[in-house]
Amino acid sequence: MSFLDRLFGKKNSAESAKERLQLVLIHDRTDLTPAQLDSLRDDLISTVSRHVEIDVQAMQIGVEHDGRSQRLVADIPIKSTARRRAKKSK
């Protein structure tokens, strides 16, 4: 990597390789494409919403790995009932 690349903040190539591989390996290992992950997300939203009101904008879903095993991690914030009541009464 040249001095100029570094000067202009271009990411070093080993770092790009590692980041790209991390994503590729998650998809290879789980057989989940980004599109499938999106559709999973939509299904989760509609299922969970039937029971509690959730903050869809703040919801996060992703695959994390622990050694060679993969874990689907969903972080779904629930809208607090107190705040909802306050909004309704306004």
């Binding site: 070093n12 390789a17 590692k18 591989l21 290879d28 060679r68």
Partner: protein, 265 residues
């Protein structure tokens, strides 16, 4: 003497499977083990040329399996090491000439007479690969610190786990310490972090590997070569010894440094 059966595989082609098999075989045999290596790449045989035994082939593995010769007749004795043998692949047949159960039978016959059976797997994850891992006690996955090789290694490691042939051990081959230092090559730690398997060796990029294979004398014979040293260390680890990993970050001899300063390296 029940042999340990070790298969070397990679997924991607050209990362150094055959070179690794030849070198581990030489290192183990030079250290007193009785070793037989099997070229599992039917139709694209190469272990014979890397070992310098291409002129001695009469029978091959398919001849043994199809009963045209006895097992001993297909075993070529090494030129230098009397306890090292090669069973070559057939060149004019394809992978379907051998099945996993053929391999199991063949290796069962070899086990009593050797300390190590080393199997050179073909690239890919099809029949030839399945044959190569069928009888393995231990599988070594070899990769280069490059995106395509690491990705394929991960696929293979996953398949080995699913087939209960794991846990695989990893050889990182052709690591270039200068590129790593400049952050232009994945480091051994990066690769281990991505693949999450046990490491059994790191082999530095070394032009003496090409020179040795030109001559048909594996680099493990070369006491001055770093790659040769790395392969000898892997052989000792296969025997169960604890051997520290080579420090590939040190700056080399004074002469190396002078040459580098003079811009010759």
């Amino acid at each position: 003497m029940p042999a340990k059966v070790v298969t070397i595989t990679s997924g991607k082609g050209g990362v150094g499977k055959t070179t690794a098999v030849a070198n581990l075989a030489v290192a183990l045999a030079a250290d007193g083990s009785k070793v037989v290596c099997i070229d599992g790449d039917i139709g694209l045989r190469n272990l014979d040329v890397i070992m310098g035994l291409e002129n001695r082939i009469v029978y091959d593995i398919v001849d043994v399996i199809e009963g045209r010769c006895r097992l001993r007749q297909a075993m070529i004795r090494d030129k230098k090491l009397p306890e090292l043998y090669l069973i070559p692949a057939a060149q004019t047949r394809d992978k379907n000439a051998v099945s996993p159960s053929d391999m199991n039978r063949l290796i069962k016959d070899l086990r009593p007479d050797f300390d190590f059976v080393l199997i050179d797997s073909p690239a890919g994850i099809e029949r030839g690969f399945r044959n190569a891992i069928a009888a393995a006690d231990r599988v070594l996955v070899i990769t280069n610190p490059e995106v395509s090789a690491v990705r394929d290694a991960d696929r293979v490691i996953g398949i080995l786990e699913a087939e209960e042939k794991g846990p695989a051990a990893l050889i990182i081959n052709r690591l270039n310490p200068t590129l790593v230092k400049n952050n232009d090559m994945l480091s051994a730690d990066d690769v281990l972090d991505l693949l999450a398997v046990e490491l059994i060796g790191i082999v530095p990029e070394d032009e003496s590997v090409i020179i040795s294979s030109n001559r048909g004398a594996p680099v493990a014979y070369d006491t001055k070569s770093k790659a040769g040293q790395a392969f000898r260390n892997i052989a000792r680890r296969l025997k169960g010894e604890q051997v520290p990993f080579l420090d590939l970050n040190h700056r080399g001899s004074v002469w190396d440094r002078i040459q580098r300063l003079a811009g010759r390296k």
